[in-house]
Symmetry: C2
Subunit: 386 residues, 2 copies
């Protein structure tokens, strides 16, 4: 893909590492979704405006180390200035640029540093390096998150490359999950928006580290259209699956990097009567502190799982419910005997744990991804003060 | 008050301490509310049936050590049997007895022990001892929860006595908050139901230890009518306030006894446009892990408080919002300078912390009570396995 990138160490991030990323590409179809937190950050508010008037974009600029959130009117002006500076240095229109920030909440951006950083990044454009770009947008990430794959339609190859950052709403006053996926197919915006909607619901909207939604969460898919594969009704399902594959890999990486996480837990709900219910049930389990601490303690505590579901006040007949941890049946409409030692061993020896819950009331399913809750979460969030 | 009680060590509780409580009183007006968890325990399902047909009750029986929850049809039959045994031994009708259980989820009640315990308890009735009765219903409580007060109407004194147990949904597979308040006034059931509704919303329904709602939560108010004070329109507000006072004391004790809690945090929302919104905002803050760990770390982290509010997706104008920790203003529509050291000192030196949030969009207020989240919570919930 003909995507170019530039990075800079602008001095916004306390560590002194790369904290500006500029991505430059041909005017491209795109689809973007943002946090629904009503304390949305300035760049989110700005980008939403741009998205409402702009069909194609040509650049993305991200700073890490400062979220530009809860910064009022001045914050909004600074977000717009970031777009302006980027556009000027790339020789494009301001409206072709989307702006993202991640880092500390409630502090104005150091615009001198931001400006110098963007100038430097745009001066030294290079080929798209996934690891380096993931590094430039990272904040408290324990590892850099990126993934790429290819697909084939009518014998022709297309590419998908994704980068992401975040571990829930991690450090004190640190915000944000950011994810960007690029592909080189040709696709109309309405169809890309549909693909986005499908994919984001089953990936980035189905992960939870601590149930806290950040002020800056953003996810963008860009289709540069530089190869001659056209996505239409005949191949849209295949294309959506490939995008889903990349998004899910990135989403799982974010959960794995959850604060103090020792396990990735996949919660699969089967047999719900509606998709919405399946998702709510999965989410209720994924966000229960009692469940997450039990997972940390390798405890096959089915009572906590069912109680979390019961807390939804949904109409569920628990006498029809079956619950598995891994391949072990631990509840079947009533308490049953199971070999606890064997299950504890499975939980101790696996970094990825499956919880499968069969509601037996319909045909809908949903998967949600979360991590366990251990001492490290408390340490990170309590001992590192603002 | 002419309330009699009996206790027994039936051997249901692993500690061997008192685990059966029987309370006996004249046929009395009562009002009861139960958990809305759809995995409601057998005694809750049974009591709800009784409440729908019964205007007065004469006895309450509680066992601790076993929740009789997720126990299916047999669990229901055992709950009914507890009422039957109690009624027979007291010489009253089965429908005059409400039944409660608290303890481990998913294990059938040891009915031999229960029956012997009830027999012993009913044989040795004594005067109502608040501490002893609180002890008999306790499970993992760090201290026994009870409170009493008196009120005066037209120069005549009435009494209110309350007991409670619980610390959220505390130990692994341990469930339940139980609370009972007794008063000796005369009151009609419809009016007592109204008082109950008012009181429970602002007390037991406005506390959170870990956001997890148990399978057995129950709260009962009993009015024996043995003195000649009649509650009517002229004094109902005063009476409700007195009941509220006792319920709030008990509710706060439960939060203080939250798992690993080092602080009781009172979250006061002012100036919401609706009561419902005020409560939702208070609850969103009270259940945010990021907020609760910051409180544990004595960190005046206003970004986490506002982000928790933003996560509700309510229409809130954050440029009008004012936020205080204790008496210290820390946000006023935009980030402001504050003396952080002074606030950290306040947080370190106080076991009860106030968070006051002014939304400035209406006249409604709400208070919610929670505790901080520290290492001890993880220890209790992860290291003690089922």
């Amino acid at each position: 893909m003909q995507i170019k990138m530039g990075v800079a160490k602008a001095g916004i991030k306390p560590s002194g590492d790369y904290d500006i990323l500029v991505l430059r590409f041909n005017p491209s179809v795109y689809s973007a979704v943002f946090t629904q937190n009503s304390l949305a950050a300035a760049p989110v508010i700005y980008d939403k405006l741009v998205c409402s008037i702009q069909d194609k974009i040509s650049a993305i600029v991200v700073n890490s180390g400062n979220a530009n959130a809860a910064t009022g009117q001045k914050g909004f002006e600074n977000a717009e200035k970031m777009a302006q500076i980027t556009a000027e240095n790339l020789g494009i229109e301001k409206e072709e640029v989307l702006v993202f920030s991640t880092g500390v909440i409630g502090v104005q951006l150091p615009m001198d540093k931001v400006e110098n950083g963007i100038k430097e990044a745009t001066k030294n454009l290079q080929d798209f390096d996934l690891e380096l770009s993931a590094r430039a947008i990272s904040t408290t990430d324990a590892f850099y998150k990126y993934y790429e794959t290819t697909g084939e339609i009518d014998g022709k190859i297309f590419h998908i490359k994704g980068i992401a950052k975040g571990a829930g709403m991690i450090h004190p006053n640190m915000a944000t999950m950011l994810a960007y996926i690029f592909t080189d197919v040709k696709i109309e915006k309405p169809l890309l928006d549909k693909v986005m909607k499908l994919v984001v619901e089953r990936t980035f909207n189905s992960i939870s580290v601590d149930g806290c939604e950040s002020t800056n969460d953003s996810f963008v898919i860009v289709a540069t259209g530089e190869n001659d594969i056209e996505i239409d009704d005949s191949n849209k399902v295949y294309f959506a699956k490939k995008i889903y594959e990349v998004a899910l890999k990135l989403a799982k990486m974010i959960v794995k990097d959850g604060e103090g996480a020792t396990k990735l837990i996949e919660i699969n709900i089967f047999g719900a009567d509606t998709k919405e219910k399946a998702k709510k049930v999965a989410e209720a389990i994924a966000t229960s502190n009692l469940f997450k601490t039990a997972m940390f303690g390798n405890d096959p505590n089915w009572g906590r799982i069912l109680a979390a579901v019961g807390q939804l006040h949904h109409n569920i007949d628990f006498s029809k419910v079956k619950l598995y941890i891994g391949n072990y049946l631990i509840y079947a409409g009533e308490p049953i005997d199971f070999n606890k030692d064997e299950i504890v061993e499975y939980m101790k020896n696996n970094k990825e744990i499956n919880i499968d819950l069969y509601l037996n009331q319909g045909e809908e399913d949903w998967s949600f991804y979360t991590c366990d809750l251990g001492y490290k979460y408390v340490e990170i969030n309590a001992e590192y003060t603002t």
